[in-house]
Every structure is written in structure tokens, then in C-alpha cells.
């Protein structure tokens, strides 16, 4: 590294600096900085309304930042459109399963396959052996290989969550952002999902929002605690757990 050793370590996959967004004066995210390494699994925790989902919204371009910068592999994301950010390698899973109910599982995955994304490309897109093999592979990863021809609306809640995760995996993003991936799941599904996440987080960075502390302890390399749009603690789970402020606002009750 020939660059000066400042806060902007150029080797971070994602560096968020001074990020602020205000909705009519209310600062949902306030001067937030966050650095995610390559292959790091980062979990964001915090009480409801802390701005966790808003941070993901800002990174993936769904909400426009009032101030600050978001750099992903040296590229500034704040000025890019959503689809450009996705194409740059950022995948986002929503809190509620967001899948196409009217299409089959196969079609859901196929649409997410990162080829033929322009109008003309989509018209000419061929469902060739490569595509089919890739869809099969992903379907197996997310336990849906037996349901490929099922309309997605008939899936269970947990299966819908998996399908959405699969739709992200097929894009092979460098940064995967998951908003409460195990929310609303049964115990068995939750266990299976934890396994699934452990498998898919190899070779990529992951940013997870989660409330399930057991789950967080299992997967997190590092934990960031948000409160009222600000970072109040950051570090290993063990470290964060000891922090009196974190106990006060979040863990204590």
C-alpha cells in the first residue's frame, strides 16, 4: 500500500464515511462511519428505529444520502442508480420475503441470473445449459430443488426467505446484505438457515441485520451497534456485550 495510512484504508471492500440522512429534519442516520473488510461477516444490531435498515437502504441506493460517502471497491455508490449498484456487486435481501409470487421458483431464480439485463438482452436471453445448471445448483443450495416448477406463492414463509437468498446467490455478489434473514422462521427452519448462511458466506463479505443474539454470536466476525442513527460500539461480540451503553440501550432488558 503506497497510500497514507489514514482512515480511508483503500483495502476495505466497503467504506462508509460521515453518512447522514435526514427525513424532514429527523436524522435517521447521523454521521455514520463503517468499514467492512473482504470476507468479513459484520452484523449490525440495535434497538428498533436505530436506523439499521436505513443503512442498508443507503448502501443499495434505495434511499439517497443527505451527506457522506459510501465507497465500494473504490467506487462511490451514493451517486449511482440502484441497478448499477447491484451490477457492481452489492446484493440486498429485504426484511419481508420479496419474491415474484406469480412466477415459478425456477423463473424467480432465472430472472436473478446476471445475464441479459438490458431490454434487448432480456428479449434475446436463451435458457441454455449453463443457465439451467446454475439455477439447479443454487436451488439445491437453498433446499428448493424439488420445487422448481411450483409457483412461488405456494412456498412456505421459510422457503420464500430461502428463495430470496438464492436469488441473491445466483448473482454472486461481492457484498451480501441480509435484513433479518431468520425472522419469522420456525426453529427447524432457523437451524437450516444458519447452516445455509454459514455455507454461503464463504468468499464474500456479508452485512447482516439480526435480532437473534444466539445467531449473531454464531456468525459474526464483528458487531456494530447502532442507536439513534449513530454507532455506539463496534468490535467482537464479546467486546460489545461488555459495553455499558450497549447493555443500557439494547441488551440489558
Amino acid at each position: 500500500m503506497n497510500a497514507a495510512p489514514t482512515a480511508s484504508n483503500t483495502d476495505f471492500l466497503l467504506s462508509v464515511e460521515g453518512l447522514t440522512v435526514s427525513f424532514d429534519g429527523f436524522k435517521a442516520v447521523d454521521d455514520l462511519s463503517l468499514y467492512v473488510d473482504r470476507n468479513e461477516i459484520r452484523v449490525i444490531i440495535g434497538p428498533n428505529g436505530a436506523g439499521k435498515t436505513t443503512v442498508l437502504d443507503l448502501i443499495c441506493g434505495r434511499t439517497k444520502a443527505t451527506a457522506g460517502s459510501i465507497k465500494f471497491e473504490q467506487t462511490e455508490l451514493t451517486t449511482m442508480k440502484e441497478h448499477q449498484i447491484v451490477r457492481a456487486g452489492v446484493g440486498r435481501k429485504f426484511q419481508n420475503p420479496s419474491i415474484y409470487e406469480d412466477l415459478t421458483v425456477f423463473e424467480n431464480l432465472e430472472i436473478s441470473y446476471p445475464k441479459g439485463r438490458s431490454v434487448f438482452g432480456a428479449l434475446m436471453f436463451q435458457r441454455d445449459a449453463t443457465v439451467r445448471a446454475r439455477v439447479m445448483e443454487i436451488a439445491e443450495t437453498v433446499f428448493l430443488q424439488d420445487h422448481l416448477n411450483l409457483r412461488a406463492e405456494y412456498l412456505s414463509h421459510g422457503q420464500k426467505q430461502w428463495l430470496e437468498i438464492g436469488m441473491l446467490l445466483i448473482q454472486d455478489p461481492a457484498l451480501l446484505m441480509l435484513d433479518e434473514p431468520v425472522a419469522g422462521m420456525s426453529v427447524a427452519e432457523r437451524k437450516k438457515t444458519a447452516e445455509l448462511l454459514q455455507r454461503i458466506i464463504q468468499n464474500r463479505s456479508v452485512l447482516v441485520i439480526e435480532h437473534d443474539m444466539g445467531f449473531v454470536e454464531d456468525i459474526a466476525h464483528k458487531v456494530t451497534v447502532l442507536h439513534q442513527g449513530k454507532v455506539i460500539a463496534e468490535g467482537s461480540m464479546a467486546h460489545v456485550k461488555q459495553d455499558p451503553r450497549v447493555i443500557e440501550v439494547y441488551l440489558g432488558h
Binding site: K81, H83, R132, N149
Partner: protein, 384 residues
């Protein structure tokens, strides 16, 4: 997985081919045999409406974009053709009693002494054919880009397209020196010397309309079978998910809106040719919304349903309004309400629930779609 690599499927399943062939036989064999020339010409008119309905299936049914301004594109297509025909009918010999011979009669009545510049290229038939499709598509492109890039959609889009329909009607009626005003362009006679007012010409034009309609239907099937077709449906369902799968949603909306506009315009041009005039009453708010009801009655997600819807509703309209003009409006209003509240999937929905399963049973076929137990090698056959 073996053997899947070589599977190349045609975009039409055997069933689709049969259904399209049935439509072709109905409109190109049954109708010409069953109706006299006058009735057949009426059906030809309905066929031109079906173009609009097919476009709406893709735009509204598939992509969820309700345009209440399809009359704009139908009208522009029709007017473009009418301008060509009008120029041909206004040759200096035909118009020598005018104070300025060689220009359309309504221009002369409005004290115009020269042909306006935007009329000049319509001397050329090639240009006219090009303009019939290109001008509406371009207008749709401009409106679409302006609206969809700024994420205007749903009801707002519907209202604004309706406003455009209103604007265009007022403009056409107001600028009568350039457009023929409220009467429209009448007294159209020949197409490159061929008299379009004869029974024979109407017969030929009817078949040309039918062929073009089948062409549009097949093209619509092709688009819907492509990945783009599935993206449209996905967009209607979860626009954000599509966006966060790396697609520029606006581009796809613009595309399908332009496509619907082009279909409507082809219908408009064929309308002018078969009926022999074009007027603002086919442009405005009311015809635009009637196009939507044709599509809704047929089934907003079924291309063929929309064609049958267009034919049936207009048959009913003609029959009813000939004998009971008051009843027609009541009937149309009730139809709107009934379709929306009771049968949101229209005729196609009724067909799918009641008739299709029976045909399958008759032919001894099982329904494979929902079971989800098909091995992947056969996937392409069923998930098209």
C-alpha cells in the same frame, strides 16, 4: 441432466399454436363466410380495436401499467394514414374548384394557402408507413422516459395519460385548419390509385388487418415467452426486487409502453383504411377507456382473450345500440363494474377455470403445472 443442453424449445407450445390457428380460422374463414360485406367491414373495424387490446395486455396485464391514453396512439396511427390518403384525394385536378387547389379541402375552408410543412412528407407512402409506427412509438418513448425514469406509475400514470388524451383531442379539434377539426379527415378515396371504397378493396383490407393482427399476436407471444416477458410480470409484482436484481425497471416499462403504442397505431392505420375516415372521436378519453374495457373483458393477462373481448364487446355494442341506444350505455357501465368486481380475469379467466380443464380431461391429459415434481430436463417444456 443429460440431454438438456440440446433442448431448444420453440416459443409457442403446441396448445398455443392450436389456439392461434383457431383464432385465424374464426376471423379469416368463419367470419367472411358468415357475414355480408357490410357486417364484415364492421368486424374489420373491431379487429383494429383488438390491436390496441393486445398492446394493453402486455402493458397493463403483464407489466401493471394502466394507460388511459391508448386512443392517442390509435389516433396518431390513424391520422398518419389519413393524411396520406387525404393528400392523394386532394390532387390539383380533384380540387380545382378550391381557391388553392392541391391542398385538402378543410385547409382551403380555413383560408390556408399552402400545405403546412409537417404535411409535406406524407406525400410518400413509405414515409407514411414508417410514421404510422414511429411517431406514436416516439411519443410513447418521450412520455415513458419522462414518467418512468422519475418513477411515476400506477394511478398517477393513468391520470396523466388521460390528460394527454384530452390535450390531443382539444388540439385536433382546435386546429381545424391543420387537422380537419371535429369532423376529422373525411372523403378518403384511393391508396396509390387503388379505390379503397369498393367492396373488393374492403374485403382485401379486412384480410390484411387479420394477418397483421395474427402477426402482432405471435409477436406478443414471443415477447411474453422471452425473459423480458417474465421480467414484466415480476415488475408488476415486486418492482423493487427487480430493481435490486440489477435491472433498470424504467427501461422495461418504456419498452412495453412503446410496444403497446405501436400496436395501437397499426390498428389505427388499418381503421382509417377500412372505414375511410379518421376523427377526434377515436382519440380522446372515452375511446381510450373503452379500449381498456375491451382488454378487461377479454382478460387482462391473455392476448387471445383480449382479441375475443374486443370482438364480443363491439358486437354487443353494435347490436344493442342499433335497437336500444339507451340500454347500451347502461350495459357498458354494468359490464365495467361486473368485470372489475366479479371477473377480474375476464373471459380468459372463465375459460381457464371452466373450459380448459375439461378439454384437458377430454383429451386425457393431466395438468402438470402446479405439482412441481417434474424432472429438470423437462423444465423448458412447462415453464415457458
Amino acid at each position: 441432466m443429460s440431454g438438456t443442453a440440446s433442448v431448444k424449445t420453440f416459443f409457442l407450445s403446441r396448445k398455443d399454436v392450436v389456439c392461434i390457428l383457431i383464432l385465424a380460422v374464426v376471423i379469416m374463414v368463419v367470419f367472411p363466410l358468415a357475414f355480408d360485406n357490410f357486417r364484415l367491414n364492421l368486424v374489420g373495424k373491431y379487429i383494429t380495436y383488438a390491436f390496441v387490446a393486445v398492446g394493453l395486455v402486455m402493458c397493463w396485464g403483464d407489466a401493471g401499467i394502466l394507460s388511459l391514453g391508448q386512443g392517442i396512439f390509435f389516433g396518431i396511427g390513424g391520422y398518419a394514414m389519413a393524411m396520406f390518403l387525404k393528400l392523394e384525394a386532394s390532387s390539383p385536378e380533384n380540387t380545382k374548384i378550391q381557391s388553392t387547389p392541391g391542398i385538402p379541402d378543410f385547409m382551403d375552408w380555413n383560408q390556408l394557402t399552402a400545405l403546412p410543412w409537417f404535411w409535406q412528407p406524407f406525400h410518400s407512402f413509405t414515409f407514411t408507413v414508417f410514421a404510422v409506427v414511429a411517431v406514436p412509438a416516439l411519443l410513447a418513448l418521450v412520455i415513458g422516459l419522462a414518467m418512468f425514469k422519475r418513477r411515476v406509475g400506477g394511478t398517477y400514470f393513468a391520470i396523466i395519460t388521460q390528460a394527454f388524451a384530452a390535450i390531443l383531442t382539444i388540439l385536433i379539434i382546435g386546429q381545424q385548419g391543420y387537422t380537419g377539426g371535429v369532423n376529422g379527415m373525411t372523403d378518403l378515396r384511393t391508396l396509390m390509385g387503388w379505390d379503397i371504397r369498393t367492396d373488393h378493396a374492403k374485403y382485401v383490407l379486412y384480410f390484411i388487418s387479420c394477418l397483421l393482427l395474427i402477426g402482432c399476436v405471435v409477436f406478443a407471444y414471443w415477447v411474453r415467452a422471452s425473459k423480458l416477458g417474465r421480467i414484466l410480470v415480476a415488475m408488476r409484482d415486486k418492482e423493487d426486487r427487480v430493481r435490486f436484481s440489477g435491472y433498470d425497471v424504467a427501461d422495461f416499462k418504456v419498452f412495453v409502453f412503446c410496444l403497446a403504442a405501436a400496436f395501437a397505431a397499426i390498428g389505427g392505420a388499418m381503421f382509417t383504411l377500412q372505414v375511410g375516415f379518421m376523427s377526434p372521436s377515436f382519440v380522446g378519453i372515452i375511446p381510450s377507456i373503452e379500449f381498456v374495457i375491451l382488454c378487461a373483458v377479454g382478460g387482462r393477462t391473455s392476448v387471445l382473450g383480449a382479441v375475443y373481448g374486443a370482438l364480443l364487446v363491439n358486437f354487443a355494442k353494435t347490436t344493442l345500440s342499433e335497437s336500444f341506444p339507451q340500454l347500451w350505455l347502461l350495459g357498458l357501465g354494468a359490464l365495467f363494474i361486473a368485470v372489475v368486481v366479479l371477473f377480474p380475469d375476464g373471459l380468459a379467466g372463465l375459460y381457464r377455470t371452466w373450459i380448459d380443464p375439461r378439454i384437458d380431461r377430454l383429451l386425457g391429459r393431466a395438468k402438470p403445472e402446479i405439482t412441481g415434481s417434474i424432472p429438470p430436463a423437462e423444465l423448458t417444456e412447462t415453464t415457458r
